[in-house]
Every structure is written in structure tokens, then in C-alpha cells.
């Protein structure tokens, strides 16, 4: 027990040091290995640091012979998991064209494209086919599901069950369990739709309830959006 705690503390210390390094001394080839270790730590401890990863990608730019493809793949997967933040594109800007032509990268770019255009069905199809690439990063599925729910909550006040199912790639009994959990912990509600269909009521926010929008100056279309599209029911 004691040893575990010690090593945990050590891990925290190392991460703290890496963050400091990135803030204070980022243009330094000597920290490259530390940053690579930090990526692996992010993967195993399910944490994330954009600045540290950008710093590493820059160093790879400065010293291309030291670039590690598996590390870059991990950085990109972590970036996908950060959606809707644009981190994935930020990383691509720093990765040389030839590297981006490799199969793994092409796959990740396609996956990112599906997510950007909210084509969840195609996304999950492609993700399943490329499970071996994505498996290296625990928490990937959950992160994407959270993003999908985020997208749905911007669009719908009440989501029909089949649409939710497709977006998060969960069905049947698993979906029932998932919904139970969300109802109990995340403020979701369930309603009956037409016939025997089920509607999921997501929490209110300024996107699916324009009256909640704090600042109406910028985006005129928002009001249009929720009025234009009748909710499927």
C-alpha cells in the first residue's frame, strides 16, 4: 500500500515537473524523453495535456529523426477524445505531410472527419474496423460517447432512442442500463414518444433552449435552428 502511494506521488511529481518544464523551458531538446513519458502517463492515467503534447510535436519538428510514430498516434487519439476542442487539427499542423500519409494517420483523419461532421454511424463503423489502433488508449469510447451526447444536446430537446443509440453505439439492454445511470446521475429524463418509442430528455442548455442563451448578439441562426426543425417524435 505504502509503495503504491509513493509511486503515485512520484508520478504526480513527474507530471508537475513536466508541466513546469513546458511552461518555463519548452525549447529544449533534453526534455523530449520526459514529454514522451508524459504522453504514456496521460494514456495510462486517463489525463490530458494539450500544451505538453504540442511542445513534443514541436520538438519532433525540430529533430525529425527522434520522432516516435506510436507516440504521435497516441497524441492524436487523445486529441480526438478532447472534442469538441479543435486539438486534433492543432496537432496535424505540426506533423509533416509524409508522416500523415501513413495508414494509421489516414485512419485517424477519417475518424476525425466523421466526428467533425457528426456522422456517428460511419464513425463507429470505422472505429470498430480499427480497434487495434484505438485500443491503446483507454477511455476512448467513453470520451467519444460524451462528445456525441454533447452534440445531441445542442440539437435536441428530446432525442429519440434510436438516434441516441446510433450516436453512442450502445443498444438494447446495455443502453437501458446506460440510460438508468444517466437518469440517476446526470439529470436526464425518459418520456414516451409516439407509439411505443422512447424519448430521452437531455438537460437544458442555451443551445437546445434558446431562451437560456445569455448573449443573443452573435449567432442569429440559433433561434432559427431550434424552431426550424421539428423534433422527431
Amino acid at each position: 500500500m505504502v509503495r503504491e502511494r509513493e509511486s503515485q506521488q512520484q508520478q504526480q511529481q513527474v507530471s508537475y515537473t513536466v508541466e513546469q518544464l513546458v511552461a518555463v523551458n519548452p525549447y529544449n531538446p533534453d526534455i523530449l524523453t520526459d514529454l514522451e513519458n508524459h504522453v504514456n502517463e496521460q494514456v495510462s492515467s486517463q489525463t490530458y495535456s494539450l500544451d505538453a503534447n504540442l511542445c513534443l510535436l514541436r520538438l519532433y519538428q525540430f529533430e525529425p529523426e527522434r520522432m516516435s510514430i506510436p507516440i504521435v498516434v497516441r497524441i492524436l487519439i487523445k486529441a480526438l477524445m478532447a472534442m469538441p476542442a479543435p486539438d486534433f487539427s492543432l496537432c496535424l499542423f505540426l506533423i509533416p505531410e509524409q508522416v500523415q500519409m501513413e495508414e494509421q494517420f489516414k485512419t485517424l483523419i477519417v475518424l476525425s472527419h466523421y466526428l467533425e461532421t457528426a456522422r456517428f454511424h460511419q464513425f463507429w463503423d470505422e472505429a470498430v474496423k480499427n480497434r487495434s489502433i484505438l485500443e491503446v488508449v483507454p477511455g476512448f469510447e467513453q470520451a467519444i460517447q460524451a462528445y456525441a451526447i454533447h452534440v445531441l444536446s445542442l440539437t435536441y430537446q428530446k432525442v429519440p432512442r434510436p438516434i441516441l443509440a446510433e450516436a453512442i453505439n450502445i443498444e438494447g439492454l446495455s443502453l437501458d442500463k446506460f440510460l438508468e445511470y444517466q437518469v440517476a446521475n446526470s439529470g436526464w429524463a425518459l418520456e414516451k414518444g409516439h407509439g411505443r418509442s422512447q424519448l430521452i430528455v437531455l438537460p437544458r442548455n442555451e443551445f437546445n433552449h434558446p431562451e437560456l442563451k445569455k448573449n443573443a448578439v452573435d449567432s442569429v441562426p440559433l433561434e432559427h435552428v431550434t424552431r426550424i426543425f421539428p423534433i422527431l417524435s
Binding site: 519548452p26 525549447y27 529544449n28 531538446p29 494539450l50 500544451d51 504540442l54 511542445c55 510535436l57 514541436r58 519538428q61 525540430f62 529533430e63 525529425p64 469538441p84 476542442a85 479543435p86 487539427s89 492543432l90 496535424l92 499542423f93 505540426l94 509533416p96 505531410e97 472527419h113 467533425e116 461532421t117 457528426a118 456522422r119 456517428f120 454511424h121 452534440v151 445542442l154 440539437t155 434510436p162 438516434i163 446510433e166 443551445f207 452573435d218 449567432s219 442569429v220 441562426p221 440559433l222 432559427h224 435552428v225 424552431r227 426550424i228 426543425f229 421539428p230 422527431l232
Partner: protein
């Protein structure tokens, strides 16, 4: 990806004057010091010692340019060794003189490989002296800005230079091998970072917010007998870091480097017009690449209006050509941003008129999202973008290639990819403008999609894009 603008064109890269042959052909004697130069350095040296900032500025902006025009159009100024005796061989003055000497060569002539490397050495010495805190001068902001601006410019130029290996002479290759440290990216970034840190400019700006320090109020000058050099070099280095990060494609970090400067207001960065323009140009460009089109449009609009109003006052200044050039580039970027994210209320009338004059036809094309549109996006992006660099050391073995366009090609490719993603949303936007409510069936008909066989799909404009929120879906029967 072919661009109609030649990215490599030297005139795109140069300052106001075309490069001419190296002075050795024209009978240049580095040891000959004309009387006017003697007078110039003697007076400049005296004014610097007496901290007479106004006079320094007059000589720096005025006399130096006039003498360059009259006597040094096609040759460098006299060497620093020849001039040193007239200024007590003052070490710091000589570093300053050399900095101006090299800047003149870059602007009016064409630097040799050796000169590029010597200029790097000079910057190392100059910044070294400043960082050691032993400098006691007050120099005009224009000069201090020019130093940082030129430093980054020469770095960018060197990266381009050493990435074109095909036609290098053996002598030039040998120089590259021997002086691998010259203009290395770590050195450049670390000098800028060191200036930021040693000057404590972040803390100064913080304290200023709390009323504990005078900085902006004095235009950065020190009225208590001290020096403004380290402080101002540190301040301008924040903008320098933004610029270098943009050249590398790291827009996120670039913007972070600029963050301590509040660009929603006037500040020290607006005192020198070159610094103002460079800040907003790179800020706007970075935001555009981060898909924050509204933010980019706002800032481009402000600066373009400013330039419209005030450029007449800079007609005689040596920076005038650069001002005009950046002005044109920002109109191109504004055209791009407005095509990707149409806005009606963000562009001031006069700017809008200028924009229409220059780009109305091209903007119409860009909003069509066909092949011709991509060609126009390509053209404008290539014209207006920074000269991206490959920062790594060159591989000086056969086969020797030119790879100076690689970095630019990547950024262009990713930009056009984003344009393509925007295309998917463009058609929907026009429909939304017409209808306040629309049934799915009708929408499907107008979108010319076959309703019964449609799959459920969403098109979502990501809020992080700061553009319209658009959702359509088509129903599976």
C-alpha cells in the same frame, strides 16, 4: 494544390528594393568612411550616450535612410572596423551599428551565406549584452521593434535559404556544415524567451493592471534614469514569439505567447505601426487557422480601418512598403474569412468598400464551393500566409533537394481540407436563411435528397468554429 502565386518569388520576400549584385563588383571599399558617415556615427554615438531619444530617432529613421539612399544604394555601409575609431571603439555601439549594417544589406542587397551567419553572431552578442543587464541606453521604440522584427525575419529567411540545397556551391554547403548552430531554431526561440523572462515584462504588465507600475503611460520609456532596452525587447519578443510559432504552424502556442498583451485596447504594441500591424496580422491569421473566423474578422476590420485612416502619415517612412503589403494580405485574409463565415455587421463601411473593390468577384467564387472556389482559396491563402519554415537542420548529403516549400504545402493542404468541411455546411446555411420552419420532407426535397432512402445524419457546425450553428437531419423511413 498548384498555386497561381509563385511562393518563391523573391520580390514577395524582399523589402522595397530589388536585390543587386554583391558590392565587391561595384568597387566597394569597406574601409572607406565618407565624411557624412563620420558625422553620422559621431552624432549618433553622442546622442545615445546622452540618452537623447528624440535625436536618436531622427537620425535612425531620417539620416540613416537618407544616407543609404544617397550613398549606399548598391553597396553596404562602411565596415564597423573602419567606423569604430570615431566612436571610441565602443563595444555596444559597434553591435548596434553592425545590426543596422546587416539590416541594410538584407533590405537593399542580397546577403551571402557568410553574411547571414555573421549577422546571427552579431545578434547573439547584442542580445547577450542586453540580457546581462549592463545596457544603460534609452533607444527609440521604432529601433527596438525593428531589431526583434528583423531578427525573426532573418531567421525565416535563413530557413528558406538553407532548405534550397540544389544549386548551392560547395563553399556554401561547407559553411552550412561548419556553422550548424547559426540560426538554429532553439537559439532563436530561446533568445526571444530569455528576453521575455529577463525583462520581467509579464510581471510589469500585471502590476500595471493593478496600478503599481507605469509602462504604457510612458510609452515604455524609463524616466528615472534607467534603460528601456531590455523591457521593450522583452515586450516586442512576445510578438516575435507569436510570429515564430505561426511560422512553425503552432497557432495555439503562438496566441498563448501574445496573451499578456490586451489587443482589445491601445497599448505599447500600437505605438510603432509596424508592431501593431505584425501583431494583428499574426493574431488574425492564427485565429483563422483555429477556425475562429469571427474573431479574425473583427481584428482585421479594426486594423484595416486604422491603416486606411493613417497610412498617409507614413508615406515617407521606410516601412511604408511593408505597411501596404500587409494591408493587401489582410484584405485577402478578410475575404477568406467572410467567405467561410459570412457576417453582415462586423465590417466597417469603408473597409467593406475596399474589400469589394479588391475581391468581390473572388468572394462570389469562393462561396460557390466548386473546384474554381478551391483555386481561389488556394490563391488567396498562398498570397497572404506567412512564409512557413522547416525548422530542422538540413541534411547535407546527396540527393540535395529544395524542400523550402514543404511547410507551406502542409499548411495549405490542411487549410483547404477545412474549407472542404465547411462546404458541407454551406448549402444548408442558404436554406436556413429563407425559412423559419420547414418540414423534414420539404427540406429533403429542396436538398434534392431522396427521403425514403435517407440515413440519419447530422451536419453540425462545431461551436468551436464560431460560425453558424446548423443542423439538418434526414430521416430513415
Amino acid at each position: 494544390m498548384a498555386s497561381s502565386y509563385d511562393y518563391d518569388e523573391p520580390s514577395y520576400d524582399s523589402r522595397s528594393y530589388p536585390p543587386s549584385s554583391q558590392a565587391s563588383d561595384v568597387g566597394y571599399d569597406p574601409n572607406f568612411v565618407p565624411d557624412s558617415v563620420k558625422t553620422f556615427v559621431v552624432h549618433l554615438y553622442r546622442h545615445i550616450r546622452e540618452k537623447n531619444v528624440y535625436e536618436i530617432h531622427q537620425m535612425y529613421e531620417g539620416s540613416f535612410q537618407r544616407l543609404s539612399d544617397r550613398m549606399f544604394r548598391e553597396s553596404p555601409w562602411p565596415s564597423v572596423e573602419a567606423v569604430a575609431p570615431y566612436v571610441d571603439n565602443d563595444h555596444v555601439f559597434c553591435l548596434l551599428y553592425r545590426e543596422m549594417w546587416f539590416r541594410h544589406v538584407y533590405a537593399r542587397l542580397s546577403p551571402t551565406g557568410r553574411q547571414r551567419i555573421e549577422s546571427w553572431d552579431n545578434y547573439c552578442s547584442l542580445f547577450g549584452v542586453v540580457l546581462h543587464g549592463v545596457v544603460n541606453m534609452q533607444l527609440p521604440n521604432q529601433w527596438l521593434w525593428d531589431m526583434v522584427d528583423e531578427f525573426v525575419y532573418q531567421f525565416q529567411s535563413y530557413c528558406q535559404y538553407r532548405a534550397k540545397l540544389k544549386n548551392k556551391t560547395e563553399e556554401e554547403l561547407q559553411l552550412l556544415r561548419q556553422y550548424g548552430q547559426a540560426w538554429n531554431v532553439y537559439g532563436v526561440l530561446n533568445y526571444l524567451q530569455a528576453l521575455v523572462e529577463k525583462s520581467m515584462i509579464h510581471q510589469i504588465l500585471e502590476r500595471e493592471k493593478e496600478g503599481l507600475e507605469q509602462f504604457t503611460a510612458t510609452d515604455g520609456y524609463d524616466y528615472e534614469g534607467g534603460s528601456n532596452v531590455l523591457k521593450m525587447l522583452g515586450y516586442y519578443s512576445m510578438i516575435g514569439l507569436l510570429r515564430v510559432h505561426c511560422l512553425l504552424g503552432d497557432y495555439h502556442t503562438g496566441l498563448k505567447c501574445l496573451a499578456p498583451i490586451d489587443i482589445s485596447q491601445q497599448g505599447v504594441y500600437t505605438i510603432v505601426i509596424g508592431s501593431h500591424i505584425s501583431t494583428i496580422y499574426h493574431y488574425g491569421f492564427a485565429n483563422m487557422m483555429l477556425r475562429r473566423y469571427v474573431e479574425a474578422i473583427r481584428e482585421f476590420n479594426k486594423i484595416l480601418l486604422y491603416i486606411l485612416k493613417y497610412k498617409q502619415y507614413h508615406q515617407k517612412s521606410p516601412q511604408y512598403d511593408q505597411i501596404l503589403k500587409k494591408n493587401e494580405q489582410m484584405y485577402a485574409l478578410l475575404a477568406i474569412c467572410l467567405s467561410l463565415c459570412p457576417q453582415t455587421k462586423l465590417v466597417e463601411e469603408n473597409v467593406s468598400t475596399q474589400l469589394k473593390d479588391k475581391y468581390s468577384e473572388k468572394m462570389l467564387k469562393m462561396q460557390r464551393y466548386d473546384d474554381e472556389a478551391y483555386a481561389v482559396y488556394d490563391e488567396l491563402f498562398s498570397y497572404a500566409c506567412p512564409k512557413f519554415i522547416t525548422p530542422s537542420a538540413p541534411i547535407l548529403e546527396e540527393p540535395l533537394t529544395n524542400y523550402n516549400q514543404d511547410a507551406y504545402r502542409l499548411q495549405l493542404k490542411l487549410f483547404l481540407y477545412e474549407v472542404k468541411q465547411q462546404q458541407l455546411l454551406a448549402g444548408v446555411r442558404s436554406f436556413l436563411k429563407l425559412y423559419s420552419t420547414i418540414s423534414i420532407g420539404k427540406l429533403a426535397t429542396y436538398m434534392e435528397v431522396d427521403e425514403p432512402t435517407l440515413r440519419i445524419s447530422y451536419m453540425l457546425l462545431n461551436p468551436s468554429r464560431q460560425s453558424d450553428m446548423v443542423i439538418i437531419f434526414c430521416v430513415r423511413s
